[in-house]
Every structure is written in C-alpha cells, then in structure tokens.
C-alpha cells in the first residue's frame, strides 16, 4: 500500500484550509454588483393567501425589488418535483401536489416562501421583508401522519384526497399472513421513528448570477450533487437550458442528505438575478435552516414477526405510515419504499416478508433522505423487534440473531435485494468480544450497588449502499440513472487531475481519491488534485449520497485509470522499444519487467504531449474518461453494542461503552473511515437520546426552531468509541468497497434503545430523554422516585 496508497492513514489534504478558516463556501463568494436576498415566509402552517402588498417594502431604503410567486409563475418557472415515481398497489401513480418555488395561493407549512426581497444589504432586505403585507386566511393544519389520514383531516393538496400520496406494498402478503397464522410465536410491536433536523454546520446558501450579454446563469449553491441540480433546474423548473446554466457547489460544510435536493431558494435567486439585473445571494440563517431544510425519518409502524418453535423467523409483516411533510421533496418517495422496505430482511433469512407503506402530506417541512435514508428506519424496526422477541422467547439476543443469520451468499431476499457477500457472525463475535459481553452481569451487579441501572443492547444492521444500478432503479421508478463519472487528466509534466462527478462535503475525497491514483501509478499524493463540484469543469456526474462515492465514484476513477495506464504503457513500450505487455508501473516509473530499462512517469507524460515520437496512429495527449454503472448495490453490515447506565433519580442515560464492528469491505483510508463512523454514531446517538423535531400539533408552529430547544449531541454526550473492521470484499466493484458514510447512524439507535430498555425493563420511544426515562420508571415502579 505504500505510505500514501490504499490502506494508508493519510492526513486529509483538505484539512489545512478547513481548519485554518480558508475554506471557500457559497457565502464566501463575492461577485461584482452582488446584492442580497431575504425571503418573506409564511408564519402559518396552512393558510390561503388573499393578497400580497409590496409597495411599502419597495419604497424602503436600499431595496432593489420585491418579487412574488405570481411573477415567477408568469415567467414560466416550473414547480418543484419529486424525481422517483412510486405507484400505489392499485396501480395508480403517486399523487404529487404542486410545490411552487414561491407560494401563490396557499401556504402549507410555517416557513413556506412567499416572496423575495432583493436589497443592498441583508439588513435592508430583512427590514423591507418585515413590511411586506401578506393577507392570509388561516386554515386548519394537520401535523402528524396518523392524524392526516383520519377522516375529516384538513385537506392539504387537492391532488391528494385524504392527504394520501401513495399506498404501496412489497413482498408476499399471503405467504406472510400464512406464516403468522402458523407461527409458534408472534412478536408484535409498534415502532416510532422520530423526526430529525439535519443540522449541517454550513447552512444552505445560493448565489444566482445572470449574465445578460451571454444570456447565461451561474448558480453557486450548497449542493451534494451540482450536476443533478443543473439537470433538474433545466429540465423541470425551466430556469435555463443546461448549456446556459453553470452550477458550482464549492466547499460545502456537510449535507447529511439535506443538500441533495433542489430547494425553492436557488431557483428563485437565479430567476431574481435576471429579473433585477443584479447577482442575488441568499444565505440561510440557523432559524431558517430549522424551518426549511428537509427533515428526516418520521415513521409510525406496526410490526408482526413470526417464529417457529425453534425460534427461526418464518414471517415479517410491516405496516408503515411515513410523513412526507407539506410537499414531495426530490427523493422523498424513494426513502420510505425502496431505501427502506427492501432492507427489511436485515441480516436474517426470512422466507416471507410483506410491507405496506402509506405516505402522507402534513403541514410540516418536507421530509426526505437524512443520513441513512430508509435504512435506519428498517434497522431500528427490525433490531428493536428482534430484541423484544428475544425477551419474549427467553433467549439471549445474540443467540436469536445467530440462529437466523444468513450464512451463504449470494442470498436473494424476498424484498428485491440480492446480498452479495457478508459474514455477520464475524462482526457479532468481534463486537461481543470487544464489549466483554460475558462480563456484563458482574458489571450490572456492581452498578446496582451504586444505585444505577445498567443495560446492554445490540444491533445487527445491514444497509444497501453504492447506489445504484441504473437499469434496476429505473425499473423501480427513479427518474435518473445512478452511475458515476471520472476523468483522469495526466498533465505534460506528469501531475494529475481527477475530475469526479462525486461531490465532497466532508467525506475527504481530495485525499482518498488521490490515494487511489497514487497507489495505482506510484506518483506522490501531492501531485494528484481532485476537481469536483463545478458543472463547467467536470463532466456530468450524479453526486454524493447513499455512501456511494467510494463504491461508485472511485470505481469510475479505476475505469479511467485503466485506460490511462493502457495508453501510458503503449507510449513507454514504444519509447523503450519493448513489448507493451512487459511494461510495469512502479514507484512513479514505467519499467520493462526483468530489465533495467526505465522511463520516469513524467517523461512518458511529456512524450504524450510533445507527440514527437508516439506509436503510429496514436492521438496525442493523456486524458481518459469513464462512466461506471454498478451491477449491484453494496451491502455494508455490522454489529453495534451499547452499554448504558441510567440514573433512576433523574432518568439520565450515560453511555458507558459503545462498540462498532463494521464490514465495509476494503478500506482506502482507515482514519477517514473511522471519522465517518464516529460522525455517524454521533448522529445515531443524537437520534436515540436527544434529537426530535417538535411542532405544536394545533398551530403547526415549529417548537424546536433553535438549539435552545433542539438538542444536538455534544462531545460530552458521547463516549470514546471502540471500533473494529471485518472485511468481506465487495465482489461487484473493482476495489471491493462497500461504503461507510451512513453505517454509524443506521446501526446505533436500536443498540442504544435495546440497552436502555434492558436497563429499565420497560419500553420507551426515541429520543430517550431523561424526562421520558424517568417517566417510564415512575410508571413501572411508582414508588421508586428519588428516595
């Protein structure tokens, strides 16, 4: 692997600029004549707009213009769309209501954008926004998914009667019902998956620049996938044709899914730039981020898991209601269907599975993918059910899991997925050994002596990454292919630029992608640059989400490197008068195997560009492009164990230890992978113990609109993590990579809740706040309060 190649713990190349405050984010961009936008937003969860008066606002100091939804509509700007078609089980297409970038007649959640003010400063824009008069006729609002489906609930979109977007199913209902009827034991449980706010450190921002002379637009924005943003803004929102729209996503400070989607603000800033003749910049403040960034999760599910007399799972039935908020965000329909229900087999051989999923509109922020996207929901449901089943059956949670593990591969689940490789026993054993599972009883007894309740819990997760084979997702309704692209440019002096369609917003691609090139060509890491995030520089690409950049993005680089290597060898063979098949690349030089003939890499590159002496018929230059379309998903899996201690006086949970044993296949940079797992675990622990978006269920006002009320995990909420890696290389991609970005957030919540319920002996929902744990203990043992 060398000091800088695959497998080396190379320090991140990008960290110098990030850690010294020299990153260049969208809000850092300054263009001549730039002005500032502030959005007028709905203070109501549901209301009719009966009038908008902007005359006072237009007269305010520094104001350039105030624009509303009618003007936007008149200019032909289209509605926002969801890009994944789901059909209900009756065959009807999902019922998508209109999402106008600026609301015209109805607002449907608190924060819905109504108008934009453009002014010389943010302060002046905000001053003017305060005097825009919007007349509203308030309508009743509905906040929870269950209430939205009730008869007589407020109707949110005319297109979706009863607020039902689709009623979808997967699997074999009859076989599953039969298994349940014939079961020796059925575990039934209701699962709530709490609603989360993504909270990337950098809030969303957009800078729209219209160049009248060229009739051309440039959009700087906080995107995880600038090419998809350009495609969607061109093809569906009618902002500009693709060749007249450049999208740049410079340094982006975290996304966690929330920056995949196209939001109203970037569309409106581009349109407003043309309308006003000035570049228009908008930067979300933190309150706006809470109000308008797409939320995650929010499922209510009923589960039945059937066992035979030997404790083998014979059937699983799931009924889920997923809250999609007020509008269908870009991938919102895929998250509670193909990214969720296809993972319901978990690590277990389950012969019959059936899941029914209803998605509903509510008067809340749109809900879409958030770190894990569907897979945390599936894992939480399954691993909580396994835990409850083990308790009901009186067997150890490890034994119940072991008994049901899939042990031979490939394995076709009843819910589409074909698992290609894995060793679930290896991760389970590694985790139990690292956690000293067998010594837990003694530790619990010791804690009891101190008046503390100690519990231990595990979670065996599997997820599908490397999203995704284009033909397969196309057949399931995806509006796009999910391949990735790469271009490897060898310069005349031998240095290398890699142009990738993946986007880095914290993942460390500038380092890991360069490690791949360094490993392959033997060139120093410092001579490799990674270029991404600009549609004018980089060929079409699909971006970063679903832990796909390693498995898909790097595979595209491998394909391009294959081509580069082939041409480089041809040139070297020609110059050294050797056979092409005898050329090897070692330590930055091309050598004739078994001889002392050698050609430095840079001389070969120079020869490619001087073109004075190339093989007959060869084109000059050394630059190759490749598109890689995966043949399967990848299947990272692992076992997490949490051990907690609960203070019965306050209900506070302390995490004593957290063990993560992950199989990510081959690993490029273990340090970066560990960082990804740490971050994922922090978010999963946040979901399990702290985080929850809360709305007032009558008024629809967001109650958790700041960090005063939305509890993010802090360093002192987290333990030191014990990590280990098992490795069954992924057979479907050239590097054997599975992906590691989301696992921590997927596997950790059920491990924690299993540990907490083990400690307190009663069920609890996420987040298991001190208040809720204390209340659960009071309900269970009314007299055991702080004596």
């Amino acid at each position: 692997m060398g000091m800088e190649g695959i497998g080396a713990r190379v320090a991140r190349k990008e960290d110098k600029r990030f850690l010294t405050g020299k990153g260049r984010y969208t809000d850092d961009m300054v263009v001549p004549g730039m002005k500032y936008a502030y959005f007028v937003r709905s203070p109501h969860a549901h209301a009719k707009i009966t009038g908008i008066n902007v005359s006072a606002a237009k007269a305010m100091p520094g104001v350039i213009d105030v624009l509303d939804g009618k003007q936007l509509q008149a200019d032909g700007i289209g509605n926002l769309i969801c890009g994944w078609m789901i059909h209900s089980k009756d065959g009807s297409p999902m019922k998508m209501g209109a999402w106008r970038p600026l609301a015209v007649d109805t607002v449907r959640y608190v924060g819905d954008a109504v108008a934009i003010v453009v002014a010389n400063s943010v302060a002046e824009a905000r001053d003017a926004a305060e005097v825009v008069t919007v007349d509203y006729e308030e309508l009743p609002a509905v906040i929870t998914s269950v209430a939205a489906l009730e008869a007589g609930a407020p109707q949110i979109h005319p297109e979706a009667p009863g607020n039902l977007i689709f009623d979808w199913q997967i699997g074999d209902g009859a076989a599953t019902d039969k298994a349940i009827a014939e079961a020796a034991h059925v575990t039934e449980i209701e699962i709530l998956n709490n609603r989360l706010s993504p909270n990337p450190m950098e809030p969303r921002a957009a800078l729209g620049v219209y160049d009248e002379a060229e009739d051309h637009y440039t959009c700087y924005t906080t995107s995880q996938n600038p090419h998809v943003a350009r495609l969607v803004m061109s093809a569906f929102y009618n902002v500009a044709p693709e060749n007249k729209l450049r999208v740049i996503a410079p340094d982006v400070g975290g996304g966690f899914g929330s920056k995949i989607y196209i939001y109203p603000e970037e569309i409106v800033c581009l349109w407003a730039s043309k309308k006003t003749g000035v570049p228009v910049k908008w930067t979300s403040d933190r309150t706006e981020a809470f109000l308008t960034d797409a939320h995650g999760r929010d499922h209510v599910s009923k589960v039945k898991m059937a066992f035979d007399k030997d404790h083998r799972i014979i059937g699983l039935k799931v009924d889920t209601i997923a809250n999609l908020g007020a509008y269908m965000s870009l991938f919102s329909s895929a998250v509670p269907t193909y990214l969720y229900a296809t993972l319901l087999s978990g690590q277990y051989a389950i012969p019959a599975i059936h899941a029914n999923v209803r998605t509903v509109y509510t008067n809340t922020v749109p809900v879409d993918a958030y770190r894990g996207a569907g897979r945390p929901e599936a894992t939480y449901l399954l691993e909580r059910t396994m835990e409850v089943a083990a308790r009901e059956l009186g067997v150890s949670p490890a034994e119940l899991r072991r008994k049901n593990f899939i042990r031979s591969f490939p394995y076709q689940t009843p819910v589409i997925m074909n698992y290609d490789a894995g060793d679930y026993e290896a991760s389970l054993s590694a985790a139990m050994s690292a956690a000293d599972w067998d010594g837990f009883a003694a530790r619990r007894a010791e804690a009891e002596g101190r008046g503390k309740k100690r519990g231990i819990g595990m979670s065996c997760y599997i997820e599908a990454c490397g999203i995704a084979p284009s033909q397969a997702v196309g057949s399931l309704g995806a509006g796009v292919g999910l391949w990735e692209s790469a271009e490897v440019r060898v310069n005349a002096v031998g240095t290398i630029e890699v142009l990738t369609g993946s986007h880095s917003h914290g993942q460390g691609h500038e380092t890991t992608f360069a490690q791949l090139v360094a490993d392959r060509l033997g060139v120093p890491l410092a001579s490799v640059n990674i270029v991404h995030g600009d549609t004018d520089k980089v060929q079409m690409g699909m971006g970063t989400y679903g832990s796909r950049s390693g498995a898909v993005g790097m595979s595209a680089i491998v394909k391009a490197l294959d081509k580069v290597e082939m041409k480089a060898k041809k040139i070297a063979a020609h110059l050294m008068e050797a056979d092409e098949s005898d050329i090897v690349i070692e330590n930055g030089a091309l050598k004739v195997a078994g001889t002392d003939k050698t050609l430095p890499w840079f001389q070969m590159a120079l020869a490619a560009y001087t073109a004075h002496n190339l093989p007959a018929g060869m084109e000059p230059g050394l630059k190759e492009t490749a598109f890689y379309d995966p043949s399967n998903f990848t299947f990272p899996a692992g076992c997490y164990i949490a051990e907690v201690e609960i203070d019965p006086d306050t209900g506070k949970t302390e995490i004593i230890q957290f063990v993560a044993a992950d199989d990510f296949g081959n690993i490029i940079n273990p340090m970066i992978v560990e960082g990804q797992v740490h971050g994922g675990l922090a978010q999963g622990i946040g979901q399990a113990l702290l985080e929850e978006v809360r709305y007032d269920e009558t008024s629809g006002q967001l109650l958790t609109a700041s960090y005063m009320d939305y509890a993010m995990p802090r360093a002192d909420d987290l333990p030191s993590f014990k990590l280990s890696h098992q490795n069954t290389p992924c057979p479907s991609n050239p590097l054997g990579i599975k992906g590691c970005g989301e696992a921590g957030a997927i596997g950790s919540p059920p491990a924690l809740i299993n540990a907490i319920t083990d400690a307190i002996g009663v069920e609890i929902t996420m987040p298991a706040t001190p208040l809720k744990v204390w209340q659960a203990l009071q309900a269970a043992q009314p007299r055991m309060a702080a004596e």
Binding site: T650, L690, L771
Partner: protein
Amino acid sequence: MYDTNYHRASSVEEAVKLRSSQDEARYLSGGMTLIATMKQRLAAPSDLVDLRHVASMKGISVEGRKVRIGAGTTHAEVASSSALKSVCPAICHLAGMIGDPHVRHMGTIGGSVANNDPAADYPSAVLALNATVVTDRREIVADDYFQGMFDTALEEGELITAITFEAPEKAGYAKFPNPASRYALTGVFVAKGASGVRVAVTGAGSNGVFRATDIEIALSASWSSDFVASVAVDAGQLMEDMHATPEYRANLVKVMAKRAVAMAG
C-alpha cells in the same frame, strides 16, 4: 439586528448618564443574551452602553468572609478565582457550569443577575447566599431583588455594580441541565451561614428563582441529604415546557438539593 448606536462607558457615572440620555438605550455587558436577542430582532435598543471598560465594575475581592464580585466579572473569572474558591467554592462550581467556554469568557455576573432568566444559574446563588445586589444608587437584598421571570427590583436605568455576600459556612450547587440549551432545567443552591439555611431553586419555578422553604426547614433541623428526601415538593408552582413536566421538575428539585447538600459536605 436593527441599527443601534454604540457607546463605550469608562465609569459607572458615565454609563448611567449615557443610558438615561436615550429612551431606548440598554446596558451591554457580556451580551450573551442581549446580542443574540438583537440578532433575532426580538430586541431593538436604540443605543447600547458598553460596560466592559468600566474598571470599577471588574474583579473579585475577598476580605475575611466578605466577598465582593464586580458586576462586570466574567463567569470564567469567578470559576477560576482561587480567593473565591477558598471561601465559597460552590459559586466557582456554578460559574464553571454556565453555558460553554465562549459564554463563560464573555458573560458576566451582573448581566446574568440583571437579566434574571428563570433558567439562569446565578440567581439561585445570589438568593441562597443572601447576597446583596449593589447598584449605582442603592443596595438591594436578594429577597427583595428577584420579582419573577426576567423581573427584578431594578429601576429604569439602574445599574448593578457589584454582588456582595458573606461567605457561608457551607454551600453547594447541583444543576440538571436542559439537554438542548444546557441552561438549568432545575438547579438548586444550598447554603448554611450566618443567616441560617437557605435553599434557592432556579430553572423550575413558573415565577422564576425561588426559595424552597420546606427544604430549608428540613436542612435546618439536620444538615443531611437524607433529610431532603422526606420533603414533599409541590409541583403546582413549577414550570411545564416540552423539556420537563412540573412533576419531573419537582423530583429534580429534591434530587438536586440532595446532591447540592452532598457537595457542600
């Protein structure tokens, strides 16, 4: 934030004069509440009178058992004062738990006591220590000073210059932080001194900081954490919000009181 005029005062007199010369002026100390509120446009003072350069409002003096903390003293200075630690470590402990390091290096005791946030830490110490709030024009005893949520005995334009108290024989503070904000979901300061046993509760009362007289009586009878357990805390006057019910807060009052007594020794 709306436009505002900034003034830097170099003395108490100058500060009071600047403040009184404008209708909508506000004193600015550490700004840890005021600036955030202004940024959200929830406060719009026409003028800010910056107190951070008033030398006489800074510093901690301990003479025998008499303590004086200048109103402009930061939480970090209180937390790390060895002179204060030798006579009343509980207040150092309290100051070290306020907010985060940034807040502790900016926020001041005078600002916190003047604001009287119902979940702030300092009001419980001031009340339990039977401290005196010294202003530009008078001295106010703690029992008269706190008048409800964000409400104090301060007159318009009155400026806190120092907090003084007699160091107690024993004192302790225990806080259960709000998981989101880290303000006190319930914090209890207990003190035993010349004025007897005083127990003050912050974060829990629907009318701001208050004295838990039943616990004071129990602790006066016997200074032990076991004695606290026998006291019934009435949830009726306690706050309800999304983070805690009155019943949970009532429980926390007892638990934190026990822990504060244990800390006091």
